[in-house]
Symmetry: C2
Subunit: 581 residues, 2 copies
């Protein structure tokens, strides 16, 4: 048995690159991408990828070089998901909601060799590049991605994306992948520390996750997939690669406005889309003139937060069929999906919604999903009650954090990846999140690190202590709420703190509420009891529109420690379960 | 990028064993297996597998030991697909249609340590074991599998399957798989040489094939899968593992009679089944009292031969939805599936049938499928005309042939696995078989080696030369037709040759027609031109019922060489395309 060796015929490294080559062969004339007035076939898309990969090699991009890109869901970003790894390089699709400082940090940390910038983000990119220049670090080669449908002429330097495509060699086959463990992409997550962490995926992990997710979602051939989910989120939860695998059609849209989404769904007969539940609000709150009739079922895979029951019902009434997934950047996107069971069809709607909001069951390529007592690493019983940390194990888990051995070692513990989320397992084997042990706030599908926010607040001259937790937000699902203890000598206002934050962080991270308190609730060992703060945050109103400038002294709001304790068991049922993606 | 090492959390060997463990967790109370009056849940099935694996270890079964089994599609055979590899051993599910001599050969060649025998095959197994004993080779430990629904008490030695299950440890977790390249199963194929060849699958290959096939067939959760396809055929085309992956229900049946199939479909609401097209005949020719109404669509994956248009139409009218696949034992079952395209729905039925009979497109985990000129190894153009050899490459291709370096080396050529089949690629990227270069006859879904048959015929004292080709058979799809040149001194009859064959080979291999000819058509280098013989065979009548004993002299049938040449281009369109599984 053991004398049968691997050979090139029976052992080929697993990689999503096989999907596009196959698509070019067997779905050659099917539409691969639609964007405004532009469309491509799979043969064309493959050829464009070959050309781009060739041009990248010509620009001295070599194995393991990072190619960063700052772009919305345009065809170029889709193509780069194949072209960059074909050149042997590693794709770093950046969150377009980041501020210049974060972008500069990522360009610097990843040592990006090439930086593609969509024309719309040229001002932001210029600012980030200026910061890099000031830090005196090597600058990436900048290439603007002009709009392929309606070119604008905006440039930043000499090169433009289409020039690379047109000058490339369409017969270039890509670099041979020697090891499926090689890196394919790099996705930064805000995580819980102040510096972004670079999550590295292998070709193997990307391939297996893609296989699992088109499976778990039961996405058939000829799917028409609308890009409402940013491709920079875990490479579009792997559906960048997945749509090629199924020979589907990508409907690229620059903005996820209600009008653009409804028009695309109607015009292109969209069958599939992914999004955070926040997008439900956009679709549900659309004005009559922005809407189109949904003629056949649109399947939605949602994550980032469990979909609220009321929203689920409204969406399904409109013709959307929703599946809930849970995952993390570190797990190459969704790691669990809430597989529906036909026997649930006859249950009352609210009960259905509750079942659907559970995080569900592990995808097929995960070797194991469990909930464990973190101290003993023993599995919790399947009683729907006993809480423990959700842990994952399998080949779709990240390689690790780039240049961060410490955080990588912390993430992998006794053979498991620690999600940081706290959950239970129900008797039917479905998993549900009950709380999170990491301090992440998910706002509009984006992770915000409370630790990062707190460290910025600490630096404010009037602030003694600060703790940031999630508070419910009607539009964004969650938003950061800061509890602040002022120095005895300190004096400031909420608008002033918000203004201070706006200067120091990306806009989406700015707290929507600052609550002044005399002291923070703490454990015996001095750790802030965030679960208490979250309960209070739920009772507060967001302050986005507050523009008053009334100075507050530290005594004005006296939030007594015991108050939290009194509330401790009151809203156990309301504990804000969450999914992170 | 390269400093991020594999660890137990992010690199877990791929194996179908994860599917059953997962099923026991997330589909615990769903029905896993139904067989007559017996049924199990996934938790029970997993527990039974753990127990059996433990008992196998107790019987000193260790890594890479072969466990052979001779059984129809009963629960025990299903369970062994997990329990045997859990014990670190290699499952060898034997073709129950083989004769004692072939079974003995396989037991000997595989050095089987344990031999499970279904009670129904005890006489056949005893005969084979007697042969082994005569050859003085080590005997396997024999364990009878009695009927779990209606125990018969038949035994062969001390041990019985249920005893092993009941004595096992339900908490045994199985041996840890260290390398996904390790062998999981061993399937003998008759191939083209006279000795059976042992095709070895790895855990990796089995996992990936399973993933691809539940994908390619779009088998959802809660599938109810009826075992009309023998599990000994490429491990049930991987659906042994696949049904566990989807948490479906296995409907096991001992016999594929029309009555049993119809009753199962109706009673258990079967949604999926696999079979060779011959099973279509069984279903279509059922007598009224054997039939039940098919209330919802039953999806059929068929292979072994392209489904004839007339059968397709009749089957679909009954409520069956058919997908055609092509593969080989060496490719872990189906390697191509004929993915349907909605735009074909409006075509005339005969055109649809023609499209459906094509072999289709490669499954997702195959890295590459191509048709190549075997001399130059250049790809043929996608013109639907230029023929070449079908070649495959990817991680679902076998490890190799057990203890047969020569045949393994022949199968793997310049980085490709050679299927031995000749085909074309159509402009739409779909592949179609036009001929086969290997001499395999597929009768009722079983491969018959013409070379093996010929070598037996050669040994007949009256026969000078013999060539065996496929001839169409109304029931079996194809059957062997022998062209025989008698020695000048030779004199025999067709019934006598058939009787001779019955003694020397498994029943299904016996030719259905013997045609006496003066000489065989040959190429300039003396190679028999089988394509010519196949054309003649098509015009002949099968002789199964011939019982006359009229002696023939070699001159009685004079089949002139040139006759073939005249016919050469006549029935180009009728060339009998085929799929092998």
């Amino acid at each position: 048995m053991e004398r049968l060796p691997k050979c090139p015929a029976n052992y080929v490294p697993l990689t999503p690159l096989t999907f596009i080559k196959r698509a070019s062969m067997v779905y050659s004339n099917r539409t691969s991408i639609i964007y405004g007035g532009v469309s491509f076939t799979w043969r064309q898309t493959y050829e464009r990828c070959c050309r781009l990969a060739y041009s990248l090699r010509s620009l001295n991009v070599v194995k393991n070089d990072v190619v960063s890109v700052l772009a919305p869901n345009v065809p170029a970003l889709y193509e780069m998901h194949f072209a960059v790894p074909m050149a042997g390089a590693v794709l770093n699709a950046m969150n377009t909601r980041l501020d210049a400082k974060n972008i500069a940090t990522i360009l610097c940390h990843s040592e990006a060799k090439v930086f593609f910038v969509d024309y719309q983000y040229v001002p932001l990119a210029s600012e980030a590049l200026q910061m890099l220049d000031n830090r005196n670090v090597p600058m990436p080669l900048v290439i603007v991605v002009d709009d392929v449908d309606k070119p604008t002429g905006v440039r930043l330097g000499e090169l433009e994306y289409e020039l690379l495509v047109s000058h490339g060699n369409p017969l270039y086959q890509g670099e041979e992948l020697e090891d499926e463990w090689d890196a394919i992409s790099l996705n930064y997550t805000s995580g819980t520390t102040s510096e972004p962490k670079g999550v590295v995926y292998s070709h193997r992990g990307a391939f297996l996750s893609t296989m699992s997710l088109i499976q778990g979602w039961e996405m058939g051939t000829e799917a028409v997939y609308m890009w409402s989910l940013p491709m920079f989120h875990c490479n579009g939860w792997t559906f960048t690669w997945g749509v090629a695998a199924r020979g589907g059609t990508n409907v690229c849209i620059r903005n996820t406005t209600a009008e653009e989404m409804y028009r695309s769904i109607s015009q292109h007969k969209v069958t599939h889309m992914c999004c955070a539940p926040i997008v439900f609000n956009i679709l549900l709150e659309a004005k009559p003139h922005e809407r189109c009739e949904i003629k056949s079922t649109v399947n939605i895979l949602t994550g980032g937060a469990p979909p609220p029951a009321a929203l689920l019902e409204k969406m399904e009434a409109l013709g959307f069929h929703i599946m809930h997934a849970y995952g993390l950047t570190e797990a190459t996107g969704p790691a669990l999906v809430c597989e529906w069971q036909t026997k649930w069809n006859h249950l009352p709607k609210d009960q259905q919604a509750r079942l659907k909001a559970r995080q569900g069951v592990g995808i097929l390529t995960l070797a194991d999903v469990d909930v464990k007592n973190k101290d003993t690493m023993e599995s919790v019983p399947h009683d729907g009650k006993t809480m423990g940390e959700i842990v994952l194990r399998g080949s779709s888990i990240m390689k690790g954090y780039l240049k961060d051995e410490k955080e990588t070692a912390k993430a992998f513990y006794k053979g498991w990846f620690l999600t940081g989320d706290v959950g239970v397992i129900h008797p039917d084997g479905y998993l549900e999140i009950k709380d999170r042990s990491k301090d992440v706030i998910i706002s509009g599908g984006e992770n915000i690190s409370s630790v990062e926010l707190e460290s910025i607040l600490f630096k404010h001259p009037a602030i003694l202590e600060a703790a940031v937790v999630a508070m419910p937000h009607p539009k964004w699902g969650e938003s950061p709420c800061a509890f602040v203890v002022l120095k005895n000598t300190g004096s400031t206002t909420e608008p002033e703190i918000l203004e201070y934050c706006r200067k120091k962080m990306s806009k989406f991270m700015v707290p929507k509420k600052v609550e002044f308190v005399k002291e923070l609730p703490k454990t015996g060992t001095g750790k802030v009891v965030k679960v208490e703060l979250r309960k209070v945050a739920k009772t507060l109103q967001i302050s986005e529109s507050i523009q008053t400038n009334k100075k507050r002294s530290p005594k004005e709001v006296h939030l007594h420690h015991t108050r939290y304790h009194q509330n401790e068991h009151h809203d156990q049922e309301n504990v804000f379960a969450m999914s992170r993606l």
